[in-house]
């Protein structure tokens, strides 16, 4: 009985530990760094954690010692020494050292970029993104996804349309707030190609929790190829279904809010849809670019995401929704 209890207790602890550790891994974790900046923050976190554990143990050990091991009076000289040494000098030096260590990282994170500038504006509740390669005179516009090359420092210039938001890709680096009317800046140097997740990290309204994005890290070669494709105009509709979808897109007024470069649609209220189908997610990181999710989104926009500016097109027939989705799926 006792043994089986101990056994299941051990299993429970092992399971809890596994779950806790699993929570630390993954594509939205500051504990699995995929870039230089995130590695620094990771080290900082470990150092702070170890420091905190040592302090906690030492302090509680001391309490234990003076209440249980040696509860009798102390000679005043010893007590004074303990208070001055352990209560004044030790914490001052320790906190000062940790402060210096943390501060010494800040200049790196403010380092200059290597050429590429990415401007991100937080909207309600999505991300407007512009790529400005070195020497560019006009941006390459996209939305709801950040792609960055490995091995170089990209400069991110951030602001917001109406509310305060915060830009955070834990696997790549620190957090930076985004303000209406004020540009903030950070630089990131990713190292490991992969798809990571970013999330708005400042409560900004009803759809704050639904305001995420994918951060795709590519090798410099892949990145250059992607950026070239992204700069190109949209592919024309290739099937009769998609052609009907394009007509609907025009007739339903979608183009008043959405731009599709290479067409007459040049709306600026919502995300640029020119290469929607090459994005990893739909609706700012909450769904996928599939037939099912697209029709769902168009027909039930505000049920899915409260208070977005886009109306729900719930009067459209299933066939019409499918045509629209077919058009959008062709925007590779």
């Amino acid at each position: 009985m006792i043994r089986s209890l101990a056994g299941s207790g051990r299993r429970l602890v092992a399971m809890a530990l596994m779950m806790a550790l699993a929570g630390c891994a993954g594509r939205q974790s500051a504990l699995s760094p995929a870039g230089e900046d995130a590695s620094w923050l990771h080290d900082l976190w470990i150092v702070m954690l170890v420091g905190a554990v040592i302090l906690w143990t030492a302090l509680n050990g001391l309490f234990f010692f003076v209440t249980r091991v040696r509860p009798n009076d102390w000679p005043e000289r010893h007590a004074n020494r303990l208070i001055i040494g352990g209560g004044v000098i030790f914490p001052t030096v320790l906190v000062g050292t940790l402060l210096a260590y943390g501060l010494s990282m800040m200049p790196h994170m403010r380092a200059d970029g290597d050429g590429l500038v990415v401007k991100v504006r937080a909207e309600e509740w999505w991300w407007r993104v512009e790529y400005w390669p070195a020497g560019a005179t006009a941006p390459i516009v996209t939305a709801n996804e950040i792609r960055l090359p490995t091995g170089q420092r990209t400069e991110l210039l951030l602001d917001a349309n109406k509310y305060i938001h915060s830009f955070w890709v834990p696997a790549l680096g620190g957090k930076m707030d985004m303000f209406p009317g004020r540009e903030t800046r950070m630089t990131l140097r990713p190292e490991t190609p992969g798809v990571y997740r970013g999330q708005c990290a400042e409560f900004c309204g009803p759809s704050h929790a639904l305001m995420a994005f994918e951060a795709v890290i590519l090798t410099p070669g892949d990145f250059a190829a992607w950026l070239e494709a992204e700069a190109a105009p949209a592919a024309p509709p290739a099937t009769p279904e998609a052609q009907r979808g394009q007509t609907l897109f025009r007739d339903e007024g979608c183009g008043a809010c959405h731009a599709v470069r290479g067409t007459e649609f040049d709306g600026l209220v919502g995300p640029d849809l020119t290469h929607l189908a090459s994005r990893q997610s739909l609706g700012a990181g909450i769904m996928e670019v599939t037939r099912e999710d697209l029709t769902d989104w168009i027909a039930h926009t505000r049920d899915i995401k409260p208070e977005v500016a886009m109306p729900a097109y719930d009067w459209l027939e299933a066939a019409e929704l499918a045509d629209l989705a077919a058009y959008l799926e062709g925007l590779k």
């Binding site: 004044v88 001052t92 210096a100 501060l103 010494s104 800040m106 200049p107 403010r110 800046r185």
Partner: protein, 136 residues
């Protein structure tokens, strides 16, 4: 000047009250220095960076913070020294400070402790200027 100890009771009380209310002001001086240093360092840097940061960098602000820090620490050091003289640690043990008669010495002791924490505060406030070399 007449010795206040020889005055009648109520005048003596008045004098002590005057002295101790001064000492109460006295113990706020070090934390106030810390606060003023904080506001000047942070506010000054913000203004400098907003007005001249683009063209002139942050060196002037960093040097000013260094100067302010030396001034603040010097002043707090002087306050600390005066406070120890009030406290007279060699003539009073902790027990003496806990009686009403030890009020004067107690306030010296408290002022001295506040000098220590204020000096630490001033150093921590100034430390970013040691590491951060741009306005960004």
């Amino acid at each position: 000047m007449t010795d206040p100890k020889t005055q009648t009771g109520s005048r003596q009380d008045e004098f002590e009250f005057f002295e101790e209310s001064n000492a109460l002001w006295w113990i706020t001086l070090a934390p106030t220095t810390w606060a003023v240093h904080f506001v000047l360092a942070y506010g000054g840097t913000a203004v400098w960076c907003a007005k001249f940061g683009e063209t002139q960098g942050v060196t002037v602000a960093r040097l000013s913070i260094a100067g302010l820090t030396v001034l603040a620490l010097g002043f707090i050091g002087w306050l600390g020294w005066r406070s120890v003289r009030r406290w007279k640690p060699r003539q009073n043990d902790m027990e003496d400070l806990s009686h009403p008669e030890g009020r004067h010495e107690f306030l010296g002791h408290a002022a001295f402790l506040l000098c220590i924490i204020s000096a630490i505060g001033v150093v921590y406030v100034a430390m970013p200027a040691l590491f951060i070399t741009t306005c960004r």
